[in-house]
Symmetry: C2
Subunit: 126 residues, 2 copies
């Protein structure tokens, strides 16, 4: 289960992909503890760089990410977590995927509609 956490000061990028639709839902970072917790609990858990602590996706919203498969890349310095995403969307802005904006003629434009009202779910907090 070894991963190379040293390259990025204790973290590896963690890519979350919906196992049903194949959509990439979000990207975060895991430290060794977040990775172990993800494996042990079966719910995707990250290390928040801004809050400097572990964070299980869905703690506030209930929109948890149920782990179905975990893969690593050739250098063992990134993980891909295929999940079943509970709830209408993973993004705290109310979208199904955090990657809801695409580049069109040099501008980021919304490529999908909101899936839920973030204020109702997060109570105005991001």
């Amino acid at each position: 289960m070894d991963l190379d956490f040293e390259k990025m000061g204790g973290l590896v990028p963690a890519i979350i992909q919906d196992c049903a639709s194949g959509r990439v839902l979000m990207a975060g970072f895991m430290n060794q503890e977040a990775f172990r917790k993800t494996v042990e609990t079966g719910f995707a858990t990250f290390f928040s760089r801004s809050r400097n602590k572990l964070w299980t996706k869905g703690e506030s919203s209930g929109h948890r990410l149920v782990v179905k498969e975990i893969s690593t890349d050739c250098d063992q310095d990134a993980v891909l977590v295929r999940v079943e995403a509970l709830g209408p969307g993973v993004c705290h802005n109310g979208y199904h995927s955090c990657f809801y904006r695409s580049l069109k003629d040099g501008l980021w434009v919304e490529a999908e509609e909101r899936a839920f009202d973030p204020a109702a779910v997060y109570g105005g907090k991001s």
Copy 2:
């Protein structure tokens, strides 16, 4: 086209997804110049942390990644690049995807077969 490069010392994680199969093929990092070059040339270009320079995927192997769509996430600190992948695979170890190992009972095990002979393509260099 602004991205938040500051959070990670000038870099953003870049996730490469096959636009036909939906498979996540690799993960790398882009600095501002790599991102601009990716947009301008239409070929995915990264910043190599180990070699400290720009690197267009496929330079040695010919296995270039033709950009079809670029998305960013809610925090604008990661990019998702959907591509047409030229050649049999993107991984320098000879696999279709760099994420060719999955976690089974605490061990990373190969979840797919080699797609090409890496020594024939890379001449023994990684």
